[in-house]
């Protein structure tokens, strides 16, 4: 019966956790910003289509865009007020993206349809999925893949295990950790909904052992609520929270190359997503805010904050004491997989798990040296790849060879670049190669 265990996956690294700055700090609700910038694309998939024009009056939770297809989710107003512009604004991914700018009226008027419905568990599957899509849910761990798509496996793919990802293996980040401590009930009720939608037999929550308080708390609440879920204490190793590695460690199953977790009967969701699923199905409450860890040596007062979607970084950082003098580099997410950001005008989006500001020393640049064939990168790669070979091929433009070495299986976890003594930008090279390979494939089809 016991499917889940605390197993191990191949490779991985042990970066310094750096979670002590914020792990003991309860989530603080940020004041409502006077203006929010809500991009129509905060998820992987087709952009959503704006529904409002300049001058429109919106309430909290009103949809401001509609899904642009099945693999797409709408966006919602996160403050009440007037739409002052629908235009391209800076976006965490780099290219300016069409965004709805809302000037707040300070009233905090909510969409009246949002409210608790006691019999939510008796809703049928399709209605639950619809509510999840309508609420704009996209993986809150940072990958931002639309949740309803993951919860609708094609006919014939039987899901027998739902895994809730509370590993939070990225250094610095503590948003999920705090959520597990402060809202365990919501997380578990969300998991219950997902298990129902998928008709799965078992479910478990995996948490790294560096969060003993969260493990204890969730175990206690599971027992109190009498739910059939397991809480698994995982080894502390990066990237424990990567889907494929988590499945491997917790079930022993290996996702085939090019495949998805559903190919081995698993669905993995982040704990933050689970809490949002509960809000979406039981309250019809869309994603209008999220927990963000604001941390690093470049921040005066590191904190966990509950920020409205669309709040500019500048406002968030100001509420955390502002930037320290030595601030060097701004990153959305964690230091391993996060994206470097170029402006403080960029808003918090659904996938913003953290705002990390490194100091100048931490963000200094290393010159790329030649590979000394030490194979540290090969040992570290959790996907069992040979990063040095793939990167060397890509450098020489030999994309077909890179593909033969499974460049496309790289999950961009950064373990290889982290250990490389020659400071080779392995992940950057591989990402570049992947983008060329994907483009060539698109062109061919």
């Amino acid at each position: 019966m016991d499917l889940f265990k605390s197993g191990i996956f191949h490779g991985g690294v042990h970066p310094a956790g750096n979670k002590r700055w914020t792990e003991q700090k309860p989530v603080e609700t940020l004041p409502v910003p006077s203006q929010v910038i809500i991009p129509v694309q905060q998820h992987i998939g087709a952009p959503s289509k704006p529904l409002v024009e300049k001058g429109a009056v919106v309430r909290i939770g009103d949809p401001i865009s509609e899904a642009g297809g099945f693999v797409s989710v709408p966006a919602h107003a996160s403050i009440s007020g007037t739409v002052s512009a629908v235009e391209e604004r800076p976006h965490p991914l780099g290219l300016p993206i069409l965004s709805v700018v809302i000037d707040g009226d300070g009233q905090e008027t909510w969409n009246p349809e949002i409210g608790f419905q006691a019999d939510y568990l008796s809703l049928d599957r399709a209605e639950m999925l619809k509510r999840i899509q309508d609420a704009g849910l996209a993986g809150m761990g940072g990958a931002t893949f639309p949740t309803h798509v993951k919860l609708s496996p094609p006919a014939g793919k039987k899901i027998d295990a739902v895994i809730l990802n509370g590993a939070e293996c990225e250094p610095y980040l503590t948003a999920d950790h705090r959520l597990m401590l402060e809202k365990p009930e919501e997380i578990l009720l969300g998991l219950q909904v997902m298990v129902k939608i998928l008709g799965a037999e078992r479910a478990a929550i995996g948490i790294e052992r560096n969060k003993p308080d969260a493990i204890k708390r969730l175990k206690k609440v599971v027992a109190e609520m009498n739910l059939p879920f397991q809480v698994i204490a995982l080894h502390v190793k990066y990237p424990q929270g990567a889907e494929k590695q988590l499945i491997r460690a917790m079930t022993g199953r290996a996702v085939p190359t090019g495949g998805l977790p559903m190919d081995v009967g698993c669905v993995v969701q982040n704990v933050g997503t689970a809490a949002a699923v509960y809000d979406a199905v039981a309250f019809r409450r869309p994603v209008i805010d999220r927990v963000v860890t604001v941390t690093g040596k470049g921040i005066k007062e590191p904190k966990n904050v509950l920020a409205r979607i669309g709040t500019p970084y500048a406002f968030v950082i100001e509420q955390c004491g502002g930037l320290a003098e030595a601030a060097g580099k701004l990153i959305m997410g964690g230091p391993m997989m996060g994206l470097a950001q170029s402006s403080l005008d960029i808003p918090v989006i659904k996938g913003t798990s953290g705002i990390l500001v490194l100091d100048a020393r931490e963000s200094r640049k290393h010159e790329e040296q030649v590979c000394i064939s030490c194979a540290h990168c090969v040992d570290a790669c959790p996907m069992g790849l040979m990063p040095k070979m793939i990167a060397a091929f890509i450098k020489k433009g030999r994309m077909a060879d890179a593909q033969a070495y499974h460049a496309l299986d790289c999950i961009e976890c950064g373990s290889c670049a982290y250990v490389c003594p020659a400071h080779i930008n392995l992940v950057h090279w591989i990402r570049y190669g992947k983008s060329e390979l994907i483009r060539a494939r698109k062109k061919a089809s």
């Binding site: 991914l93 780099g94 290219l95 300016p96 994206l339 470097a340 950001q341 170029s342 402006s343 640049k365 790329e368 930008n425 950057h428 090279w429 990402r431 570049y432 983008s435 060329e436």
Partner: protein, 287 residues
Amino acid sequence: MDPLMLSSIIALGFLGLVFGSGLAFAAKKFAVVIDPKVEQIIGALSGANCGACGQPGCAAYAEAVATGQAPPNKCTPGGKDTVDKIAVIMGLSGVASEEPRLAVVHCQGGRQEAKERFQYQGVMDCRAALLVSNGSKACRYGCLGYGSCALACPFDAITMNDNGLPVIDEEKCTGCNVCVVTCPRSILSLIPRSQKVYLACRSLDRAKAVKEICSVGCWACKICVSPKVSPSGAIIMEGNLPEIKDVYAMELYNAVDKCPAKCYVIRGERPVLEAAVDENAAVAQNQ
């Protein structure tokens, strides 16, 4: 002689004889018939294996020409000479070689003229740099300046200057198109060698946005397409960027003078006589 040495010589000699005759037999029996034309054509081609002809290399192109699957005038680096030689080999007449072309850079916004949004620290390759927040240049159309084109050029015709812009050596450039397809921002294009004036900006942004981030970007002010500057319509407006329709028109020199952002570039020396005539014409029109 030592009997051991003697037997070795005999044994090895015998083996050599056996293998040698085997090879000789195989060479006759499995000989691949090569069309002598292919060899001759390979000799006529430039041998750069640059891919300008659309084939994977010179040998493949020679074969395609010899079998009639490719036109004989696609070897741009070889130029007219090569076309003539191939025409003789293939017994063709009246094959026109295309007008030789060369690459130009449609951006003048180097490190001094154009603003950067952030300090880029990653892999020094333009296509890789684009993956980080869409490149560090504030202008989203401009040259990224990491020299992917210079690295790609099979003829060493591109160097990166201190200002972070590619400079084309017109002598060396063969118009092979490799740099054009390499640049992720489409900053380079091929123009006929006889075209003297081209527009060196790709920005589709509006005037205000451009002025904020670049001192040499096109404002889309439409002065160059106005009847005063371009009476015959040699330049037209396409979206927020002018497009040169008649690449040989003398009015292009007017545009060089009148463009407030100095976006038009003259290749080499400005023809003195025509320019003077042109200015007179412009003056006459102004009155």
